[in-house]
């Protein structure tokens, strides 16, 4: 019996407005409300709502045979609440069917795992709380931003109490090994590692409507026959993709929804296959070996590494300057500041600064609100400068407050002492008077 694991990621960043040098210190609002609203509404009507509708329909039809898993960045949940609350409602309805496992990730879709273990942990906790509050599930499985994974990161995730992590079945990691087996982390073998089958996943999410692709058009039957032809020893097929594949990356007109429906139905009813969530897979399947990932991998670009966010000097500089602020942020409690801090960490900002020009550059440009990576960098640094300006001001204010408080205290003490002394003088005078009288 082969388990087919369907996992979808839902994320949208808060895009910054054009933030000019003159705005630094003068205007503290960073977001392009119009674009954010427009993108979220578009995603809701083209993808989230119809895809959820389809899953609800299948849940009715297949019952508990339907198994899917989702993860949300906290940022997209914040935006959905602002711009398309009906989408959250629709996901909640889906959660009630019992067919869904919620996977955790970082709150900001951030790269904190590469920068600061403490912030990483906070980000994960924050997201966990958010998921629990909305869907009533405590996630047991983790998926890092952009599937970024290394032995180190895995060990940290295990420390946080997670049973398993999802990551990319990158060639440089697996080599001749197959993503069809379950692996464990080398440092802490209690953490199971599920590897994404990038060939089959990308067939759906990137190639489905590409007419130059030799396999075009792709039907559910053809896709399932590929799974059938896989060696019988392989116990699982991990199809991990962005939820936006349905309706956005692959438009509705390409027939993606019909394909999706047929695929789920046929797998669920197949004699030798079933759908499974990550938690079910780790409960049923024995791991075959540890997988060693000394350098971080991701699911981005041809290289499956960090070059999409850390590939040039601008990205490295912006990233460094951002996390240099971590220590001052810790001293802060202002909710508005902390919210901006979260949103500033979104990996998307660094993605916009990429100067890659290969075929993947296309992807970078498609999702990029800036006309050039340089513009993206300039804008981000301006926003960051203002943020640092506010942080320092807040900090100064706090220090000032502290100083005022200590001075006040000292004043009160002095006051008290004066009163005591006055009383002493009074009693002294009194005794003097009585002495004089006598």
């Amino acid at each position: 019996m082969k388990s087919v694991c369907l996992y979808f990621q839902v994320h949208q960043p808060f895009r910054h407005r054009r933030y000019r040098f003159f705005d630094i210190g003068a205007d503290h609002y960073y977001y392009d409300d119009y674009t954010n609203d427009a993108v979220l509404s578009k995603m809701a009507t083209k993808c989230y709502l119809p895809a959820n509708q389809l899953l609800l329909k299948l849940a009715k039809k297949l019952g508990s045979k339907l198994r899917v898993s989702f993860s949300f960045s906290g940022i997209v949940l914040d935006q959905l609440e602002l711009y398309a609350p009906e989408v959250i409602h629709s996901f909640q309805k889906l959660a009630k069917t019992g067919c869904v496992e919620f996977v955790s990730e970082t709150y900001s879709h951030s790269l904190a795992s590469l920068a600061n273990p403490e912030i990483f942990r906070e980000q994960v906790n924050h997201n966990e709380e958010r998921i629990f509050a909305i869907f009533g599930q405590k996630p047991r499985v983790f998926r890092n931003t952009e599937m970024i994974y290394s032995d180190q990161i895995g060990a940290r995730v295990a420390e946080m109490g997670y049973d398993a992590i999802l990551t990319e079945g990158a060639r440089q990691v697996l080599g001749w090994k197959s993503p069809g087996f379950l692996y464990v982390n080398t440092i802490n073998p209690r953490l199971k590692v599920l590897m994404r089958n990038f060939k089959l996943s990308d067939d759906i999410s990137f190639r489905f409507s590409n007419q130059n692709w030799p396999e075009y058009p792709l039907s559910a039957e053809k896709f399932i026959s590929w799974i059938e032809q896989m060696p019988w020893q392989e116990e699982m097929v991990n199809l991990f993709m962005s939820y936006e594949t349905f309706g956005e990356r692959q438009p509705k007109e390409s027939g993606i929804f019909l394909f999706f429906e047929k695929l789920i139905e046929n797998v669920a009813l197949h004699p030798a296959m079933k759908l499974a969530t990550p938690s079910e897979i780790i409960a049923e399947i024995q791991p075959v070996s540890a997988v060693s990932v000394p350098n971080p991998v991701s699911w981005a670009d041809e290289e499956r590494d960090l070059t999409a966010w850390q590939g040039n000097e601008m990205q490295v500089e912006a990233f460094r300057k951002l996390y240099q602020l971590a220590d001052i942020v810790k001293l802060n409690t202002d909710p508005a500041l902390l919210r901006d801090w979260d949103y500033l960490q979104a990996s998307d900002h660094f993605f916009y600064m990429s100067t890659k020009h290969a075929s993947d550059g296309e992807v970078h440009r498609h999702y990029n609100p800036f006309s050039s990576p340089y513009e993206a960098f300039i804008n981000y640094m301006n926003v960051l400068s203002d943020f640092a300006f506010r942080l320092n001001k807040q900090n100064d204010n706090q220090l000032l407050n502290d100083e005022v408080m200590t001075l006040k205290k000292r004043l009160e003490e002095k006051e008290l002492k004066i009163r005591e002394l006055e009383a002493d003088i009074l009693s002294f005078k009194h005794s003097l008077k009585t002495k004089m009288k006598s």
């Binding site: 601008m314 490295v316 500089e317 300057k321 050039s372 300039i378 640092a388």
Partner: protein, 436 residues
Amino acid sequence: MNMKKTRVLMFGWEFPPHITGGLGTACRGLTSGLFKLEQTEVIFVIPKVFGDENPGTVVLLGANKVRVNKKEFEFFENQDKMEVMEIDSPLVPYLNAEEFWTLKSKKYTRQTRFIQTNEGYEVDFQGGYSGDLYDEIKKYAVVAEVIAGDQHFDVIHAHDWLTFPAAIAAKKVSGKPLVVHVHATEFDRTGENVNTRIYSIEREGMENADHVIAVSGLTKRTIIEKYGIPASRVSVVYNAVEPVEGPTPVKTGKILKDKIITFLGRITFQKGPEYFIEAAALVLRKMRNVRFVMAGSGDLLNTMVLRVAELGIADRFHFTGFLTSDDVHQLLKMTDVFVMPSVSEPFGIVPLEAMQFNVPVIISHQSGVSEIIEHAIKIDFWDTLAMADAIYGLLNYNALARHFSSEGKHEVDCLEWTHAARQVAGIYRMLLNLNS
């Protein structure tokens, strides 16, 4: 001297507010200076009139508003009076390719040239510096010939290479003396890798000129050494700066406590932006409460952004892109030190603007403006250590900054365009006396 005013047919390429560099600003300054002298009358021709220019004291004539086929045509000017002129042009205007071929198949003399027009028989110009510049220049020359055939004038005056072919054409038609005004040469724009086509246009212009005006001694040397023009035919006339409108600016609009050091200009080889960045990195090692601003755009912008990231100073170094003149004023109001590290700057009008705003300035010896300005710190463009020193000194020793701020302001207020205009008018007179 008789009371008859000298009529000048002047060719420019841009006019405020549609400007990309200092050329348009200088042209307006010079023409307003000439107007105040009341000895000359200027007809200022540019390829394209956008309609929102404020010509002030000059008659602005757009080559795109000149009808090239009518026996009779009206010409655009701002002062509500229309002049009507007769022309007899060997030009055959056409609207599109098809019409061109039908016309071409008829018999014409060899001298006949064809020019594409719009339906009003006017030639369309793009204006600015994009598109097929050589084609624009050629069309401009053709229309200049039409204009020169109709207008009455005594002298032709052309600003920079883009207008030289037009001026030469006007000279051929009219036989009037030609003055070419060199604001920048190809050597300033590109270093030693000159575009030979532009060089030859420049050289042809200067050789055809009866007199050449250079904006600085530096430029005069280039003209003599690189273009082979005899020194006797070249004069230096320094630019000035138009007074800022309104009362003396006070330092306002400053929200950040940090000191601000500004670079303002096109981000190209000529302006030496990389030296500013290196100096910024040096200063930032010593003090943190400063911010550097690089305003403007240009072909080196992306390289500069990368260099700033590489040096790890991007949180203290900001890029603004191209700024409108209002934004420029706002920026100058916020500025504590202005730096112009030009590698090769024929003149350089921006430091003068900064001085008007009471800003202490640091300029390179390699700029023409350093020949006339006393109260500025002068360094070599490549000497980033000296530049950093000067910036640090102006930021930390208040007496120094106060000195340059007040003395500089005083000095720049004494520079007037009427002075430059007087020299130019003198050159016109000399040429006319020679001719008569």
